[in-house]
């Protein structure tokens, strides 16, 4: 990958002022990230995502008086 492309990637990541030395590191990170992403299973589904849910205290009056 050439320096111009790496600089573009760095800028997109919010790192517009990385020197050439650090762009070399970014290139290694790019390769490492691709390698890791390629190892992810291909059948992952959104229903497997964890969700943040609220837990409110259940008021005692919630229980209907006629309930057994």
């Amino acid at each position: 990958m050439n320096k111009a492309k790496l600089s573009e990637i760095a800028a997109a990541a919010g790192l517009p002022r990385l020197s050439d030395k650090y762009l070399d590191q970014l290139q290694m990170s790019w390769a490492s990230g691709r390698e890791l992403a390629d190892k992810l299973p291909k059948d992952l589904h959104w229903t497997e995502e964890l969700s943040l849910t609220f837990r409110l205290p259940r008021p005692s009056s919630d229980t209907p008086k006629s309930a057994p």
Binding site: G33, A37, E48
Partner: protein, 464 residues
């Protein structure tokens, strides 16, 4: 008292409470030892002798007045230097935070203070708990007392080294991808990564919030249970904290393993990532020891190690980049090469891949907990290899990924690393025990039975 250097917390507490040992004498002896040995091992990046002596004198006055605060009262300890102690710098072993004075105590520091423990100083870490061992930082990396000039593991490297060298009997570490258990394994001490949420992280510099844990590090199992007892508890200001009852972790230590079901995760170290032959032999021998004590040890299979490692690495680099991106944009020169490289990984991972890593994490957690349905505790490897020379960068880089700790950062289960023997060259071998969520007491029970049967934790580095 002939050997204060390797006195256990348990024994020290007995002697301190009975008035046979003065906290002032104890603290002075360890400060003197730190002064003599730290230039060789670099475990501490800062000692706090004035603070320590003031606390020791206070403990002595308290005890003389009959106010004993518990087993940690008058016992010296130290903190990995990403944990805040009010008024002291928290540097994360980095030039970026060299002047960062903590405005208040971390919750774990406050708990140790309230327990009457004696703060001795701040311990070496890999930079921001991710980049090490490094030689381009303001302080040198800690060196393992086992072997000539060996890597102690990390990132809680100073914690492991200080314990193994007999500088302190208690230390705190943190564990995001194995950083309590790695130095425990390579330094022949005991390190517990508790269940996610059991110990507050407030006042601890984060690496990857969804995987970060604070854990106790000691030289034996009982001491570890005593230290966790002080640390564990709900903190409403840590969003990951769990509001659960805290049991007496030491109460069941002597119950033994007769009739317990132990799952041996052998494929981790024989198929997925084949361990050093002496490490495989040590693990198989550990399984035999537990069988001989009456446990039912049977093999169980979890997902392949590589799946856990993939999810862990993607999540860590993305979450770490989210924390560091401002400094990487404005002060990239102030990082060491290793930390910069590892954190930069998160700059180029796509949001979709991060989400997939979270999906994989949830899947692996469900599968792992299902496999635990029929067992009390699992036994497997921590490190696959003994340690290597610290100045061999390639060997150190190869050593780290050859491990089986990350699965339990992913699932959040409690996991303890402890010694399981030594190589023919005298380097530590290790094992890992894993429990159900919040079942630290059961993990300690199995660990204590194994420890009593083998006595590996009674060995100290030659010449110390």
């Amino acid at each position: 008292m002939s050997d204060l250097a390797f006195l256990s917390i348990t024994k020290a507490a007995e002697h301190l409470r009975a008035g046979k040992l003065s906290p002032v004498t104890y603290t002075e002896a360890l400060l003197d030892r730190i002064q003599r040995l730290n230039p060789r091992f670099h475990a501490f990046i800062r000692t706090t002798p004035d603070l320590a002596m003031a606390a020791a004198r206070q403990a002595e006055r308290d005890m003389a007045a009959g106010h004993w605060r518990g087993p940690l009262h008058g016992v010296p300890f130290a903190l990995k230097d990403i944990i805040d102690w009010s008024g002291l710098p928290t540097t994360a072993h980095s030039k970026l935070l060299a002047d960062n004075i903590a405005p208040s105590d971390a919750v774990v520091s406050a708990r140790l203070k309230a327990a009457g423990a004696i703060m001795m100083g701040k311990l070496s870490t890999h930079e921001f708990a991710i980049g090490g061992p490094s030689f381009d930082l303001p302080w040198p990396p800690a060196v393992n007392p086992w072997g000539g000039n060996h890597f102690p593991g990390g990132s809680s490297s100073g914690s492991g080294v200080a314990l193994a060298a007999g500088l302190i009997p208690a230390a705190l570490g943190t564990d995001t991808g194995g950083s309590v258990r790695n130095p425990a394994s390579l330094c022949a001490i005991v390190g517990m990564k508790p269940t996610y949420g059991l110990v507050s992280r407030r006042g601890v510099f984060p690496l990857a919030n969804s995987l970060d844990h604070v854990g106790p590090m000691t030289r034996n199992v009982r001491d570890n249970a005593l230290l966790l007892q002080v640390l564990a508890g709900y903190d409403g200001d840590d969003p990951g904290s769990a509001d659960v009852p805290i049991p007496d972790y030491a109460a069941g230590l002597a119950a033994g393993v007769n009739g317990l079901r132990i799952g041996l995760v052998r494929h981790f170290y024989t198929e997925d990532c084949r361990a050093h032959p002496e490490q495989i032999a040590a693990l198989d021998q550990a399984a035999e020891v537990l069988r001989s004590l009456g446990a039912r040890v049977e093999e169980v299979r979890l997902a392949p190690l590589e799946q856990y490692a993939t999810a862990t690495r993607l999540i860590i680099c993305c979450e770490a980049f989210a924390i560091h991106r401002h400094w990487l944009a404005t002060r990239p020169d102030d990082y060491g090469d290793l930390a910069r490289q590892r954190i930069l990984d998160g700059a180029v991972v796509s949001a979709a891949d991060y989400i997939d890593a979270l999906r994989l994490r949830a899947r692996l957690t469900r599968q792992t907990l299902a496999a635990f349905a029929d067992i009390d505790v699992a036994l497997t490897a921590s490190n696959m290899d003994p340690t290597c020379p610290i100045d061999d960068a390639q060997a150190c880089a190869s050593l780290y990924p050859r491990q089986a700790r990350q699965p339990f950062n992913i699932t959040g289960q409690p996991a303890l690393a402890m010694p399981a023997g030594f190589t023919q060259d005298g380097l530590p071998l290790s094992l890992q025990l894993i429990g159900h969520p919040f079942a630290e007491a059961m993990v300690y029970r199995v660990a204590e039975a194994y420890e009593r049967a083998t006595a590996w934790t009674e060995r100290h580095p030659p010449g110390l």
